[in-house]
């Protein structure tokens, strides 16, 4: 298999995730788009790790696991923030969060 098959799939998913982050108004959907981005990065890491031998091959899996753990932490805090915003403003539309606008 070509390396590029995996790398191009990762690039496509990354671009789709970036579109979601820019275009979506609902905060939960923005967090979902961020998950797509993080997964595309993991695919790239593991595709590169497969070309390595010995100890540095396991490093790819290690970093992918680190990213999964950081993503879990990020979703936990992110959804807590979204809940708090919803409780205070009765809406999670990112367009309406303009209180800090100068």
């Amino acid at each position: 298999m070509l390396v590029n098959e995996f790398l191009l799939l990762g690039a496509a998913l990354f671009a789709i995730g970036v579109y979601g982050v820019i275009a979506r108004k609902n905060a939960v959907l923005v967090l979902m788009s961020i998950e797509i981005i993080l997964n595309s990065v993991n695919i790239n890491l593991l595709a590169f790790a497969l070309q390595r031998k010995g100890a540095s091959a396991a490093a790819g899996s290690t970093f992918a696991l680190f990213i999964i753990a950081v993503a879990a932490a990020e979703v936990g805090v992110g959804l807590a923030v979204v809940l708090l915003v919803y409780r205070n403003r009765r809406s999670i539309s990112l367009d309406e969060l303009s209180k800090m606008k100068g």
């Binding site: 298999m1 070509l2 390396v3 590029n4 098959e5 995996f6 191009l8 799939l9 690039a11 496509a12 998913l13 990354f14 671009a15 789709i16 995730g17 970036v18 579109y19 979601g20 982050v21 820019i22 275009a23 979506r24 108004k25 609902n26 905060a27 939960v28 959907l29 979902m32 788009s33 998950e35 797509i36 997964n39 993991n42 593991l46 497969l50 091959a57 396991a58 899996s61 290690t62 992918a64 696991l65 680190f66 999964i68 753990a69 950081v70 993503a71 879990a72 932490a73 990020e74 979703v75 936990g76 805090v77 959804l79 807590a80 979204v82 809940l83 708090l84 919803y86 409780r87 539309s93």
Partner: protein, 164 residues
């Protein structure tokens, strides 16, 4: 070789279609379900890339825990569950432009740099032992830092979300 390519094509198609549905659908719960398809496809790709431990962790953490969090977040922040209007910004064409620009640039650079590079024919399976040697040996300090990040995130989420 051929079987691998066929499986890769199926998984990649499912993932791309799922990701497109996540960012275009009008229903938040449907977006969560399509995200399950994307994340499961990623787990299958990790198996194809001979990283079995990462694939299992992906299923446990993402498809198990994170998706439950998303569903709960949807339920707690939304009066109605179902189709709704107005999930996109007015400026969504900018998003299309940025995504096409980014995807095109990345694709050009990748094809230019890696061209026809082949993956190893018979890749060595990443054993759990190798991965744990790496985590608890070379990357022990980052692992500690990550544990602290997780603890802080957990405490922070509880403090933020509780009613007082």
């Amino acid at each position: 070789m051929v079987a691998e390519n066929i499986f890769f094509g199926i998984i990649a198609a499912v993932m791309v279609i799922g990701a497109l549905r996540v960012v275009t659908t009008n229903n938040v719960v449907h977006a969560a379900l399509w995200l399950v398809a994307v994340l499961s496809g990623a787990a299958a790709l990790y198996l194809l890339l001979a990283a079995e431990f990462v694939a299992i962790t992906q299923v446990l953490v993402y498809v198990g825990a994170v998706m439950v969090l998303f569903i709960f977040g949807t339920m707690l922040t939304r009066a109605q569950i179902g189709r709704e209007r107005d999930l996109n910004n007015r400026t969504w064409p900018v998003g299309v432009f940025v995504a096409l620009l980014l995807g095109g640039t990345l694709a050009y650079v990748l094809i230019d740099a890696f061209g026809d590079d082949q993956l190893p024919k018979q890749p060595a399976i990443q054993s759990v032992q190798d991965v744990s040697d790496s985590i608890f040996g070379t990357y022990l300090i980052p692992f500690w830092a990550l544990s602290f990040v997780l603890l802080a995130a957990m405490v922070g989420a509880i403090v933020l979300a509780r009613r007082d």
